[in-house]
Subunit: 110 residues, 2 copies
């Protein structure tokens, strides 16, 4: 993921409706959610949501696939991880640091 791709991804998430949509999709998992259903959940006009989903797709954060008349959208977890890694890269000057993420905490509960 290039520097400009990171900027695009951050910019895509830096908007109320897009962040909300992304989080819903992250929590929905691989089944995905149809555009219309998302629009209802978020209280957006179809065209407005379509605009925002296009930005998220362009940023590589979500993907859409057709299912009959519906378009199902799903979050791309790989892209999310790449983004997180980029932000924390060389964190604290490369010294192992005290920063602990919630993914890490989840995994430590074995």
């Amino acid at each position: 993921m290039s520097d400009t791709a990171i900027i695009t991804a951050l910019g895509a998430l830096a908007q109320t409706h897009r962040l909300a949509a992304f989080r819903v999709l992250v929590q929905a998992g691989s089944v995905g959610i149809a555009a219309g259903a998302l629009a209802d959940m978020l209280g957006l006009q179809p065209s407005a949501l379509s605009f925002h989903l296009a930005q998220l797709v362009g940023a590589g954060l979500i993907a859409g696939r057709r299912d009959g008349r519906h378009l199902l959208y799903t979050a791309d977890f790989g892209a999310m991880t790449t983004l997180v890694d980029y932000l924390t890269e060389n964190c604290c000057g490369g010294v192992p640091c005290a920063v602990e993420t919630n993914i890490q905490r989840t995994l430590s509960r074995t």
Copy 2:
């Protein structure tokens, strides 16, 4: 960190110069870097950098402190972690998932 604070933070990072500045500060650690030195590194006019630093401060991602004639800026690691956690919250529907961050990899090298 509220939803709007997250948006502010993401928006603050979603810009070439601000992302570059933040990353330099993240890697510089707690000593910090003076505004002028940062402007040189990034090739920005002082006023332009000041504008961007103000946005990062406003987003809580960095802090500035005076040292004589200089203003030293440092990254706020806590804010960074909060941001990362927010993005990955309820990742994969709450099921412990395969997403592994680089912070986590750093810490596992014990």
